[in-house]
């Protein structure tokens, strides 16, 4: 097993190795995190006091900078007092993996500290609702508009220049406006997600639709399709799977606008939860909440990707098909050659009443009627 097996340029990796690497991609950052959290002599810039000793302002459980601790400790010893005791810790905003892992569970089970605060599941629900409505609103307009822009030059020229300009305006910049127009509750948040998604959506989908193979459209035209039938029977089905992929990516973008959107007006959803927990110095919950966004995003995306393979079976590339094909062809080919020599051409056998038996003959839907 040489280095080349792992690092060959564009070298395909076997399933086992791919799996190993996928696991490693998560394990490596986790390992770095664990080392920083658990190995006392790596970083740990603070000392938690267990015994104040002779330092008058030290208290049990107090965390103090290592340099300050050493200085006070030296002063105390010089003054003939008892040296303070303590151990090295990380600052509270670095939480060890086990605490965060625990918080994934406890954050859900622990009731909010104030009666007005929502539970975690309510915060998450609120965020998902905001994303959902923002994305749906954007898609209801953006999807048809994108398809029109991709199909008809008219719409492309009419819409796209302005949209190109507008998409450079950062969505958060509209926060104040949205609040002024839509109030302080959910509507401005949904509007921010809409602004962040919609303009990209029109352009991305327009581009995807534009990439439809013109030969397919020509083929459909020679088969008698025209006008809106061409749009609904060729352009849209030809691109629907790619549009679906675009939508998945755009949904990811919508998530990145979530935090900004939730700060607008009254803070809500998962953002409110995160800020509130940070205020209580429950940093384990903060990490857990951030992690949950990642997990929700990734699971949604993977579910949608899987759903895509169910919805669009022609995108599933089967490798077996090509290998089995010659077998299915060969017996037929034998009969074909025998037909070829045995069959009579209409010219030499004008009667055509005895069509030669073959599996190619079948029942001709339209028998030959023309005899000059």
């Amino acid at each position: 097993m040489g280095l080349r097996d792992w690092l060959g340029l564009r070298h395909e990796l076997p399933q086992r190795r791919r799996l190993v690497l996928v696991i490693l991609s998560f394990v490596l950052p986790l390992a770095v995190w664990s080392i920083i959290s658990y190995v006392p002599w790596i970083w740990h810039p603070l000392i938690r006091v267990t015994d104040p000793g002779g330092v008058d302002y030290f208290m049990n459980g107090m965390e103090i900078d290592r340099a300050a601790f050493a200085r006070e400790s030296a002063n105390a010893v010089k003054a003939g007092l008892k040296a303070p005791q303590g151990y090295r810790v990380n600052p509270v905003y670095i939480q060890p993996p086990h605490a965060v892992a625990r918080a994934f569970y406890t954050a859900f089970t622990s009731p909010p500290l104030l009666p007005t605060e929502p539970w975690l599941y309510q915060s998450l629900g609120h965020s998902i609702r905001t994303i959902f409505w923002g994305f749906v609103a954007s898609s209801i307009l953006g999807l048809p508009l994108g398809i029109l822009c991709g199909t008809y030059r008219f719409f492309a020229k009419l819409q796209e220049p302005f949209i190109e300009f507008f998409r450079y305006l950062p969505a958060p910049a509209f926060g104040a406006l949205c609040v002024a127009i839509l109030g302080i509750d959910d509507p401005p948040k949904i509007a921010i997600i809409f602004i962040g998604t919609f303009f990209q959506q029109v352009l991305v989908i327009g581009n995807t639709v534009r990439k439809v193979d013109p030969a397919l459209i020509e083929a459909a035209q020679t088969l008698g399709a025209k006008g809106w039938r061409l749009l609904f029977n060729v352009v849209i089905p030809a691109t629907i799977a790619d549009i679906y992929t675009d939508m998945r990516i755009l949904l990811g973008w919508a998530w990145t606008y979530l935090i900004v959107a939730e700060v607008v007006g009254t803070m809500s959803g998962i953002t409110y939860f995160i800020y509130q927990q940070a205020r209580y110095r429950h940093y384990d919950n903060v990490y857990a909440a951030i992690g949950m966004i990642g997990i929700i995003g990734l699971t949604t995306d993977m579910t949608l990707a899987w759903l895509g393979t169910v919805l669009f079976p022609w995108k599933r590339r089967t490798r077996k098909a090509k290998q089995t094909e010659p077998k299915t062809l060969s017996p037929e080919h034998q009969t074909v050659s025998s037909v070829l020599t045995g069959a009579a051409h209409p010219e030499s056998a004008p009667a055509n009443s005895n069509p030669p038996a073959s599996n190619l003959a079948g029942e001709s839907p339209r028998p030959i009627t023309a005899k000059a």
Partner: protein, 299 residues
């Protein structure tokens, strides 16, 4: 290089049976009439000439091959016939009606298969029938018959990407024929296939043509293919693109692969060769610097 001159019959020489066959063909109604058709790319006269004025009468159930080197305008011609491009002048009449845009009366088979990847084999064949407004059950039954005819009934549920090139092209032929076109336009349909598959496809096509009332206009750059398939061969040349000659194929039908070494075939092929590969082209000398020391091993 000197060879003993090969005794070949003149390519015009037809056996009485073949001559009689062409007489019968000429008596049939004209399906497609091309009158003074020409095409120039670019603006008013200054542009590149795709092909000069050409005229052609295609009779019912005739098999016409158009052959020529690349750049002779043969593909442009067939695209104009399909209605996918506009001509610069002249007209094409199908059953007396001028061609105006693509339509189901002219079926087209492309080199690149152009099957709809999101439709199964059967749904592909049903496409034209549905566009014509047939109800699902009728279209389904008819599509099945056409698939049966091209020997792909077993694959009706498969998606195009699961098929080989030859099978895809058979589906494309079935799809075009299902519309019952007056004329089937084929633009180098077997050009992308390997030699063996191409051979098979040629005999499939012959069999299909025997069974179906359809006129075929077939573009190719393969001389043997043209000789094997065509009733008449339209030879086109380049610079500018134009029709050099329309040859009545003297080979009798039914044709077999054995005929590919018959004197008639060789004569025809020789003539096509002469027309297409003009001496000035083949004898072009390259300015080569000698980079070998291997002596006379290569001649």
């Amino acid at each position: 290089m000197t060879f003993a001159p090969l005794k070949l019959p003149d390519y015009h020489e037809q056996s009485p049976e073949v001559a009689a066959r062409f007489r019968r063909i000429r008596e049939r109604p004209v399906v497609m009439k091309v009158r003074d058709l020409h095409k120039t790319f670019g603006t008013n006269g200054s542009g590149h000439i795709a092909f000069e004025k050409m005229s052609l009468d295609v009779h019912r159930r005739e098999f016409i091959c158009i052959i020529g080197p690349s750049g002779c305008g043969k593909s442009t011609f067939i695209r104009i016939a399909a209605g996918l491009e506009e001509s610069s002048g002249g007209e094409i009449l199908i059953d007396g009606k001028p061609v105006c845009g693509p339509g189901p009366d002219r079926g087209m088979v492309f080199q690149g298969y152009t099957l709809f990847p999101w439709r199964t084999v059967k749904q592909n064949v049903m496409f034209g029938l549905k566009m014509r407004g047939q109800d699902h059950a009728t279209a389904d039954a008819e599509a099945r018959q056409w698939l049966d005819m091209v020997g792909l009934a077993k694959f009706e549920g498969a998606y195009p990407h699961e098929l080989s090139g030859g099978m895809k092209q058979r589906v494309a032929i079935a799809r075009a024929l299902a519309n019952e076109p007056r004329i089937l336009l084929m633009d180098e349909p077997f050009g992308a296939l390997d030699a063996l598959t191409r051979c098979k496809m040629q005999s499939y096509l012959m069999q299909i043509w025997k069974k179906v009332d359809v006129t075929v206009l077939f573009i190719t750059h393969d001389l043997e293919e043209a000789c094997y398939l065509a009733d008449r061969i339209v030879v086109m040349g380049t610079n500018p693109g134009r029709v050099l000659e329309v040859i009545e194929n003297p080979m009798p039908r039914p044709r077999t692969m054995d005929q590919l070494i018959s004197p008639e075939f060789l004569a025809l092929k020789h003539r096509l060769d002469e027309l297409i590969h003009s001496p000035s082209e083949t004898e072009e000398k390259l300015h080569l610097i000698k980079l070998t020391q291997a002596g006379d091993e290569v001649e």
